[in-house]
Symmetry: C2
């Protein structure tokens, strides 16, 4: 996500906050995820941001509307752009969604997809072990393959032609997932779409940085900057120079 | 752990606090685990407890000494009783320890075992995927077996005759772990030992409840009482009537 934002908005000053002290959000209740999301948004606003991207599907599913209602700046989530990309990609209108327990239980993707295409057939499946498997780097192991086959079973009988990777960790499993569902199933990663949506929102409100500005990137974590550095490299595909620690809650 | 405490201390009023809003502790830094442990201890003291059992290996490894220093009541951890049980069980003095990333990185078991038996040979191995696998109920699946074989490989070449299950989730994997390391390797679960140690501490300070008292049990979670209920049943092997929610942090 950060990589796409940096790519599409090279002149912006971007602050990335990772709530490493309290992740994973996936198994947690809407109440708790909302409380954490509010705290992070308030902290970002204290840093004078002009817009917030909720770069987490679970937080988007549980808290996006609350943040949009309570905070006086644009708040962009990842679910709507992912849903849009899925509807654009599908030919059969049979769309699969995988995500955390929280994202799937919220029904957020079904609602977002049906708002665009009322008659789409959506099958959603929680894959709670994918986040720890990705965090531990088990991206191409037989164990992950067995777990993925079990999780993805509902899609075999439902003939989806498009599968939404409804969690920011899942794109790292793309090769393995593609092998299981078949190369003809389109895998939708909402990062590029969300970055594009962020650009559109900034442009429509005339909030974009001037083309001459030097973009800057700040990485902030609520726990163990070292761990964040290591994970960050895996997700960003680039090195991070420095991670600041900020304690919330 | 609660089951053993209830069994060995039937007349006590026990409050079980599960920090479900912020678990898992295993991958988090000592600082963060110390901060969370302090908050929980302070809350328990506000409920007038007379002693605290830190029924989590990671919290014990990172925070036990701090809690013992900062709070004016007995604080009992799980590492020392587990180390004692391992030393009592081993015949070859070759002891294996498995735990979370945090517990293993802390070196707490090595220190505790060497304090009892200076020449013991201790091999510790982090098994970060075991907690999510247990939480998701993958207790006897081929995927878990593959992951466990990978994690337990160091013990094959080190000929341990005793393996400490250094995380309160791991006893649920006992049959699978025993199958992998061999039936002749003793698996040490510190729950019974910790409960016995708690009883000894209460007795030595004359803090035990009178034999006629009716024991009571309160379950408190920082997130989603429903989820706690479901998990609680799996760990306790019994039903819980009610879970209260208390927000910390």
């Amino acid at each position: 996500m950060v990589r796409e934002l940096v790519h599409q908005l090279p002149h912006e000053r971007i602050i990335y906050f990772g709530d490493t002290a309290r992740v994973p959000y996936g198994p947690k209740s809407p109440d708790t995820v909302q409380r954490y999301s509010r705290e992070i948004a308030a902290w970002l606003i204290s840093q004078q941001v002009k817009a917030i991207v909720v770069a987490c599907n679970t937080a988007t599913a549980h808290a996006l509307e609350i943040l949009q209602r309570e905070f006086p700046l644009p708040v962009i989530g990842v679910v709507q752009p992912g849903a849009r990309a899925a509807v654009d990609a599908t030919r059969t209108s049979h769309i699969g969604v995988i995500g955390t327990a929280g994202t799937v239980a919220s029904g957020a993707y079904e609602r977002a997809i049906h708002a665009i295409q009322r008659d789409a057939h959506v099958v959603a499946q929680a894959c709670p072990l994918f986040v720890p498997l990705v965090e531990e780097g088990w991206l191409d192991s037989e164990a992950t393959r067995i777990i993925a086959r079990e999780y993805l079973r509902p899609f075999a009988s439902n003939h989806v032609d498009t599968l939404v990777l409804g969690c920011t960790h899942y794109p790292l499993l793309k090769p393995l997932l593609s092998e299981i569902v078949g190369r003809d199933v389109r895998l939708i990663d909402s990062a590029a779409e969300t970055a594009a949506e962020t650009r559109r929102v900034l442009e429509s409100r005339q909030l974009t940085a001037p083309p001459g500005s030097a973009g800057t990137h700040r990485f902030v974590a609520s726990d163990a900057p070292d761990h964040f550095l290591r994970q960050g490299r895996r997700f960003l595909g680039t090195t991070i120079d420095e991670v600041e620690k900020v304690t919330l809650g």
